[in-house]
Structures are given as C-alpha cells and as structure tokens.
Symmetry: C2
Subunit: 353 residues, 2 copies
C-alpha cells in the first residue's frame, strides 16, 4: 500500500478548523482507494511568530523537504505585518521548492450563486495557471532620497526565459486534456520590456503545440472579459501579478471565492508541492466552528490529483458538487445553517463508496 507523507500546516485562524476536516475527508477516500497518509503536523503560524519571533524554524524547509506534499490552511493574523507572515512562510516555500505553477480552477457549480446574470452551471470552466516564483514579485529594489521631497522607490520585475517557458508549457500540457485552448495575459502595450518578452516566449512555446488554439489579451480588457465573456476561456497563463489578480477575480465571477482551491506546484516532483485554499485565515469567524471547509477539502482533491490518485480526487470533487447542488448541510456563507464539521460529514456521506 502506498503511503503519502504529508506536511500539515494549518496556520492561523480558520486554518485550524478546516484542515482537520479536510484530513477526515482525505482519510475516507484513502481507505477505499488503497493508499494511506502519514501526516506530520507543523505549528508554523503567526501564533508561533508571537511566541518565538519566527513563522517557522530556520531549517523549516529542510524539515519538510522530503515530504510528498504540503497541506496548508491559511496564514495571517491582524497585527502581524505581511512581510512577516507571507515573506516568512508562504513565499519562501513557493520559491524554495520551485513551486513555479500556481494553479486555480474556476468553475461555475450548481448551487453556487454567481453574481453574473444568466450563466448556467458548467458554462464557465477554466484554469488560471499563474507563474509563482518570479516576475513582478521580485524583492529587488530600493529607495533614494529617503524622507525628502525627491524621494523615489524602485522595484525590478524579472522575467527569465526558463521561468516563462516552463509555466507556459505547463499550461499547454494542462490544455491537452481539455479544449486545447490557451490564453495569455499580457500588457505589452504599456509595460515595454518584460511584457513584450512574455509575448515572445508565448509565441515560441505555442509553436511547440500545433493543433492548439491560442489568443492573448491585455490584462485590462482581460479582466473585462472575465465579467462579459467568462465562457471564452479554457486555460489562462499569466505572470505572477496578473495571475494573482485573475485567480481572485475568476472565483469571484463564479461566486466561489470562499470555496476555491489552489495548488502551488512543482510539476517535476523534485520538491514537494503545496495545496491551500484561496480564502484566508478569516480571524473574524475563527474558533466558532462555522467556517466553510470546502476550499480546504477541494485543495485536498487537487493534492491527490498531483500525487497520481485521480480517482480519489474526482470522487471528492464529485461529492463537493453533489452537496453544493443539494443545498442542505451548507455553512452560513452559502446561505445554510451547518457548521464546519457537518458540511465535511455531508461530503464524506456523498462519496461514491
């Protein structure tokens, strides 16, 4: 029997409530799927930062280096600045483990209310493939004339050929099993060095995939198309910043921002990949047992798919869709009355075995 060794980092706030529920669901599919989990728990969080002065130990990455995957809840707590909570945990893991793909599905599901008029379940169904390691998130930059009227601040964006090509190839490979349509997010009409380069690499990689259709839109009009024509898309590939924007806007458009999953993926599996929901630690509702666990459970399904357990992944996704469509057992954010645990129980109950 295959055993997957997984680092579990619930993090802060509702992360501590939704992660254990998602683990129960994963255990349930493992039993019938003939595999098992070896979970190792890490308390890396803002709470740990408050106690010890660091989000994770200095050798944190080495401790989880050999895991098959990382299952993350959410990090962030009011009063802890972002450069601590994010640059002290989330971003070092993404970069340190070459998780150069951030993958988020955008799917209009029955039972989930979209803010858009007249869209049928299934009519919106695409993936945002975001470059997750470089680009606009480079930390290179600085300040001149501190405190004076002439003060200015610079920041470098850095796009490498390797960085562009590998995430674009990932997008094409993903589209291979779908509609073979890849859309590139650009802004080469305004951002005059990096974005024309992005277009150049997109053209080059497109030539490696004959039989695929491709298009590209500037990010400004692309966000407009998310609202006007969300049915146009199959797989969208975007830089770190543009992908960040599109992978929040996409879930918002289908009404799933509270339940959307995400993966930070090292496709070569040389390093562990990390799976986390799109939502944050939601300190306002933490500790009440009312948080919606679907984003975490769905992220667990993405983890299983990455580990090669496609049937188990599909079983969980099917159960989520069934429970959403039935509209009983839902949490408050979805207009129901159930608690975190009840909703997880309903999903376990809806598994096909």
């Amino acid at each position: 029997m295959t055993t997957y060794s997984v680092a579990v980092i619930p993090g802060d706030g509702i992360g501590n409530e939704v992660v254990p529920e998602a683990q129960r669901v994963l255990e349930a599919v493992a039993r019938s799927g003939g595999f098992s989990f070896d979970w190792t728990h890490y308390d890396w969080s803002c709470e740990r930062f408050a106690r010890t002065g660091a989000m994770m130990p200095a050798d944190g990455l080495a401790q989880i280096r050999d895991k098959d995957a990382i299952f993350l809840g959410a990090v962030g707590f009011p009063g802890v600045p972002d450069h601590v909570s994010l640059w002290g945990l989330l971003i070092p893991i993404r970069r340190g483990f070459h998780q150069y793909v951030n993958l988020r599905p955008v799917k209009l599901l029955a039972g989930v209310e979209s803010p858009l008029k007249g869209r049928e379940p299934g009519s919106i169904d695409f993936y945002v493939v975001r470059e997750n390691n470089e680009g606009e998130y480079s930390s290179i930059g600085g300040r001149l004339y501190d405190g004076l009227d002439d003060e200015l601040v610079m920041q470098q964006s850095i796009f490498t050929r390797r960085g562009c090509d590998r995430v674009m190839r990932y997008a094409f490979e993903l589209a291979k099993g779908r509609k073979k349509h890849v859309t590139s997010a650009t802004k080469s009409n305004g951002i005059s060095h990096t974005m024309p380069y992005w277009d150049e690499r997109f053209a080059a990689i497109s030539r490696e995939y004959p039989g695929f259709t491709t298009d590209q839109f500037h990010i400004d009009i692309l966000t407009a198309h998310f609202v006007r024509n969300p049915d146009w898309f199959d797989v969208i590939v975007a830089s770190n910043l543009f992908g960040d924007i599109l992978s929040d806007l996409g879930p918002a458009v289908v009404g799933s921002i509270g339940i959307a999953p995400g993966g930070n993926i090292n496709p070569e599996k040389e390093y562990p990949s990390m799976f986390e929901p799109v939502h944050g630690s939601a300190p306002d509702i933490a500790g009440k047992g009312v948080a919606n666990p679907i984003g975490q459970i769905w992220s667990g399904a993405m983890m299983l798919r990455h580990l090669g357990e496609e049937a188990a992944a599909a079983a969980i996704e099917g159960a989520i869709e069934k429970v959403l469509a039935r509209r009983d057992s839902l949490t408050r954010d979805l207009g129901g009355k159930a608690g975190t645990r009840e909703l997880a129980d309903a999903i376990i109950g809806a598994l096909p075995f």
Copy 2:
C-alpha cells in the same frame, strides 16, 4: 465670449466618425452656454505613420502646447505595433503635458445592461483616479543573455513621492464633493518595495484630509469586490497599472465599456489635458456609420467640466442618460438600430435647451 482652442485628433478607425459627432454636440451646448470653440484638426494617426513614418511630427507637442485642451478619438490599426501607435503618440502626450491623472467615471445608468445581477441604476457610482505618468509604465529595463537559455528581462517600476502625492491629493479633492470616501489599490503583500511605499504615502496624504473615510485593498481582492460589492466605492486611487485594470473592469461591470469616457488631466492647467473614450479604434466596424458616439460625447462633457463649463457638461451628461433610458435611437452595440449620426442627433435633441 470665451473661446476655447481645442486640438482635435480623431486618430484611426471609428475615431474619425465619432469625433465629428461629438463636436456637433459640443457646438450645440456652446451656443446656449455663451462660449465657443476654435478647433484645430491634426491628422496624427497610424494612417499618417504609414504615409510619413511617424504618428505625429517631431515638434508635435510644441504645436499643441498652447491649446486649452486636446480632444482625441482613438489610435491603433491592425499591423501597426503598439510601440509605434501608443509610444509614438498617446504616451508622449500624457507624459509631456504632465497629465498625471487619468480619470474615468463608473456609473450604472438606466437603459444600460450590466452583466451583474440585481443592481439598480445609480447604485454603482464611483471614479477611478489612475496615476498616469510613472509607476509600472516606466520604460527603463533591458535584456541579458539575448537568445540564450539563461536569457532574462528586467523592468523597473518607479514611484516618486511627488508622483504619488499629487494623484492621491487629486483623489481626495474629487471625493470632497462626493461621499468623502477614498479607496487605495495596493499589493504591498506581494510587491515589496513600491507598494509599501504607495501605502505609506496614502497614509500620509489621508492625514491631510480629516473627516474623510479611507480604506485599501490588495488589487487581487479589489477586482473581486468590483464584481461582488461595486456599491462600496466612491473614489478609488491607483497606480498606473492597477488603475489601467480597474478602469476597464469598472466600466465592464456596469456594462458601459463601449460608452465610457476618460480624461488625461493636468490639474494645474499648466499644460493642456486630453479627453478620449475608453473604447479603441474598432477597425472591424469603422467606415460603416454604426459606431456608438456616446464615449466620445461623454469625454467631451468631461472636457467641458475641466474647462470650467460645469453647466454645459451636466447638460450633455443628462442628455446622454435620457437617451439611454428611453432606449430609442441607440446603436447596434446597445441593441438598437440607429447610426452614429442619429444617436448624436438624439442627444442634441435631449439637451435641456
């Protein structure tokens, strides 16, 4: 009688059809408003580029330097690359004349179909104030290891204190006559130099405006709020790139992307400001007399407001709203059968005098 001397640059495609119609509307309000226009026509365009090798003459800026305003249609033609059409005309004018504010209204109007469910006319009504001169659109950058596997491209974003402060003050001044609520678009959790600086300046400028409410959102979740909670906003201030995105997404959300106006403003009036619709040159429908002139006419109203002709500006805006609500005389894009000229005539007919 005051005479405004205006540089008219119809540009390409439908620019040549909608600009003359907007001029007719402006002439109509001028007659009863007791002012007049002295129009000077410039053929600066991709068509001129094809003929002469330049979008505008070398001394173009000097030629229009002393005008009271610039009235632009649209530039762009298939086959002419952006670095020619935009960096050869639009961007040099924005920068050369210190048009450091790009202003775009976002308003849900009766008779205009929004893609969002359940929103009433008037319930969405805000401005996007975009920094229009610096930030992510700096042209500083370059390439290393050309053509090799190690190839990389860099681009600097540059935020100056002067550049941030002046556009933020403009946003607060605009909010003064409205709900006194200013929202800042940021991404300081991911972009670690320029965006924290933007937040720092926003905090500093906010302190100059006691009695105002302020908030800030990271650009990813802010785009989500445009879809989920567009009624939250009054005035939004954003960097060049983020403002570019929000001022396309905003009009898309209220269904007005084909009719939205825009201003590139030098608030001190040391240089002429430029007014242009959000839509482009639409080569696919050019020459057919079917283009919707409302974006151009509405941009004319913004020009009048900038020139101090508030009553005339409001008269045009009122006439646009009336014609939209009546839903006769509309162009095809709005579900009607009228041509460009008929719709302009309807707006002239709906003027309050």
